[in-house]
Subunit: 344 residues, 4 copies
């Protein structure tokens, strides 16, 4: 019997409208490396969302979107301030350090969110040649704990960054989920809130392969063509990445996919919130639920469902929904959590 997956939004496949766009793009020849019509169209779609005064570049995956952004924003003797749970710290195998040449300065948090107050401790020894100099604040939207920054919170960090001669980077692997959760436009919580460079996630919201680096601060984009190529992120048949993004940004697909994923998480959270042996540990604001549950229950659930144990010591799990999570699967999972017998 095949499992029902609540492991990660990249366990999902390709959304049909995205796949359809790939098929449609497969007509005849197209100039390689981005100088094609599909790519022009896709960039236009981004400008519909964010305005004309932006630059957009496509790369292969989220680690690359983050790392190439940071290369464009920082010198090697500078540092990036981020949450200690950030993807760039925990899940990129040291790529930021190797390719940017710099250091990450970590901020412990409960909810994955930076604030001017918890960041400020890293603003010291400025100008001291012995110490890395903070150059970028990087935040994840949604955070690795499924929480969401409000536009006001992003703006506070942007102002703080700019007042201290730093830039603000947003790892938006799940930016669509965040905007849908906030019920605002993609621009409201990014460009209009002061973000300088955005890693715009596609794969987790229905694409096959593809992420975008979006520069709101265009001076930082000046040499990005070379940075992308040298970083091994230039697709030859780029039209097929572009076409996916065009589809995602057409007919509100980005929002439909993200809102559905969010709704499924909310539904599941509501259904299990009152179960005594379940403790939801983070605000459920987008498409993730963090919860503690007895290990024996986890083991029983694993017979039919898959999800990640986030913390082996505390039995905290991460449950994640996606654009194609079915309501019936949520109900089945909620029922299983409620009714499964286990030994304490």
């Amino acid at each position: 019997m095949s499992l029902i997956y609540f492991a990660s939004d990249n366990y999902a496949g390709i959304h049909p409208e995205i796949l359809n766009a790939i098929e449609k793009a497969n007509q005849g020849y197209a100039t390689a490396y981005g100088d094609d019509e599909q790519t022009k169209t896709a960039i236009g779609k981004f400008r519909e969302q964010f305005g004309d005064d932006i630059d957009v570049f496509f790369v292969f995956n989220g680690t690359a979107a983050n790392v190439t952004s940071l290369i464009a924003m920082n010198n090697s003797y500078q540092a990036v301030i981020c949450a200690d749970s950030a993807h760039i710290q925990m899940d990129e195998c040291g790529a930021p350090e190797k390719f940017c040449g710099g250091k990450l300065l970590l901020v412990p948090t409960n909810d994955g969110k930076l604030t001017p107050e918890n960041v400020v401790k890293h603003i010291y020894r400025i100008g001291d040649q012995h110490h890395v100099q903070p150059g970028v604040i990087s935040i994840s939207q949604t955070t690795e704990y499924g929480t969401v920054y409000t536009p006001k919170e992003v703006r506070a960090l942007a102002n703080f960054a700019h007042e201290h001669q730093m830039y603000l980077h947003m790892d938006g692997a799940r930016i669509c989920n965040a905007a849908a959760a906030l019920n605002v436009s993609l621009s409201t919580v990014t460009k209009e809130s002061g973000v300088d460079v955005l890693s715009f996630g596609g794969t987790k919201n229905g694409l096959m392969i593809g992420e975008a680096v979006v520069f709101f601060n265009r001076s930082l984009a000046k040499n990005f063509l070379f940075i992308r190529k040298q970083s091994m992120q230039l697709a030859s048949k780029m039209r097929f990445i572009s076409a996916q993004f065009s589809a995602l940004l057409s007919n509100n697909l980005w929002h439909r996919n993200a809102a559905h994923a969010n709704a499924m998480a909310t539904l599941l959270a509501e259904k299990i919130a009152d179960i005594p042996h379940i403790k939801i540990t983070q605000a459920v604001q987008a498409n993730a639920i963090f919860a503690k549950m007895p290990r024996e229950l986890i083991n029983q659930l694993y017979e039919k469902f898959f999800f990640y144990i986030w913390n082996e010591n505390t039995n905290e799990v991460r449950i994640m929904t996606s654009f194609n999570t079915k309501e019936s699967d949520v109900n089945a999972f909620a029922n299983a959590i409620r009714s499964t017998k286990f030994h304490d």
Copy 2:
């Protein structure tokens, strides 16, 4: 009117059997990052070609296949010997130097081919701490000039490399074209000829996105999972790269595509060989033709056809065919070359 393209094999789209494989792979959930059934199947397909004693990893593009191979094979104080026309030298924007940390030692050639005789000049100052130490010989198969190494030529280089404590890397962006041209198996001209690590090209032979790094010397693969991830080359929805490779290595598709491209180049070369104002400059052994022609002719042809001027000074052009080059397009191009009026 849309142009007919002889620019590069990556101007072609996705082969229908490949696209079909992507669609078929889009069923339900699959574990991310390569721990899925499609990827297991694809690795099995490679083992059918090369034997069980290999390791295979998928990456996004050719530059990445080359650079991650070289990271696995060399230390930063070591050097890579390659032709001065090699893709790693001319077309990767310094990625090998930045990410491997080493130097390329160049060999001038007329036909893009290394030999023990033209490589040996870089074997000196061995053990001298001031000088980079050659650690890898890297050859392109087919070469950047469309020429093809015979198994015997590869073996000679492999023996030379191994006798001098070096490894042999093959940039096989067009390895299928080479094997088809030689009418040998993929293994004959790679593993069985002594290659240690192969960059196996997919995109130029009909894939949408995807290249493979194939380790015949498995000791070099030991840490490659980490190298790939740190090099920003780990696809989350890897099943869709894997499925493409499975299709390419099924029903002889790799050979059909490559042989067709090669045949189209041969056909075109035959049709234009006797034209007085055309001088074919390289042996046409695979899917590329290099030829000198009057600039005025080039300009006229550009109204209906696109191809690259390889050398602005000598008016040498590169004409490239692909899996979906039509015989009628070849004929039209040949006729145009023969009959176009131009001023000398």
Copy 3:
């Protein structure tokens, strides 16, 4: 009036016996880059201390000794576990990240000392390609807080490291102070306690310029000649670094210098320990005193003495003695601390 310095042991000059050795080495010609008699002699002096089964290389400064050691010990996708106060984290401007390509995993401590218990939290996700893999534990001896690891404590960390397939690196910028404080040989608390590679500090103990990288695990030294050269650390007139080390390791100079510095710190600590408005915050085990004192007192003292404010928020200062700290200066400083009037 010139200040009396308790700022750092590298504010001191060159010990007369060291300077004399430089002068003596300045006879005629000598082969450059380390292939000279003086260097042979110096390596012999290290072997007198540590046994014949070691390799020794000289570099220019402490950052370089640490970074080149770590390059030799780790791959770029591996991480170094260290105290959050470690010099490699706080004072090397990101050199470890840039040149090793990896990540530092930090351990918060009160006294600068790692233990198997506080290190173990970083031993997880082993084999997970997304996460940096711990490869080295790096400890500072003496620590940045002037505390000293006992041989037993070093051995515990070495065993822990080796059990987890890691190496143990010691940043011994003040290794002589540590050995003198413990009243053991240099070998006892390094090689005999399981250290794999030692950054052996010279400059802070009386040299003009010079540090050594000492490999007890000689397999790690195999390519170090190339690592040193590529890291821009190969001195052409190396005999003058070597001669300094020969002098330091002759006539017990290393011990005399270090023991004197330690004694001066102990003396000062004893003299100020009972002053009510002084709180010594770390065990005074070598040549540093950490203490909190009223800011107004600090400001008054600054008219005649210089030392560092370690923490601007808590008014904790670092007072450091060296081989040429005079007992009369210690007395003057102690008296000033005791008798200076200040406003609370």
Copy 4:
């Protein structure tokens, strides 16, 4: 019997006036890391030579002076154009590639000298994201063949570089020899000829340890404090490097030393020029002689003299003089070359 050395100018020791300056600087305490009086004085001495509108930083060795200069001048996707004989290509074990992250573009030359005419071939594919972009021209003064650029030749390269949005770097490991040979000021052939950044050599002209990076284009120096520190080139007891430079730039010592070395080479060349079996292969313009001589003669000479075989195949040797080459040694060497019996 001890050999007479004509191997390299870094086989010589410390000039007595330099050693004396080290001794004099060894008075009491001084602030570490360059914030001391000796360093201020040394920078003043450089400004006496080059004017006030420069920035000067001291580093440990010549490789570091070159590499840190290039880091300050170039991005990683840019390239450095240099002679194929350049020290940065031949003798720095890949440090430029590893630490700048870029590529060297080589120019074959007979005499080690670049010209706009032989450099221009690398000015192509400008703006092409696939190809490294030339950002710096780097020349060696004197060249690795002992030849000297005139101010006019340097100016031509500077103009060419600046017209093509590149910078001009000079590896001046032997800049004093060049200026003395040309009988011009240090500034004439560097700053006043359009050089942007100069690696100013100290060690080969009488220092114990020490090189300087001199920025004539001060905008490039903006972040150099951090670059130097991150590159492991910040000396803690910097006063002792500074004092050496102050001595070198006082009482015309730089010129006396260099002129003497040059004169000794000229003398030797004159004495051997007419010997039939000797063929001097490069113009003797500074302190090096390149000459072909029978291998059997070389072997005989090696009993009393040491010098380098530059090319094992052609029996070309490099003979190098220094500030402390004695006229009597030159005479002895010339006589030996003339009178030694050897079998052809």
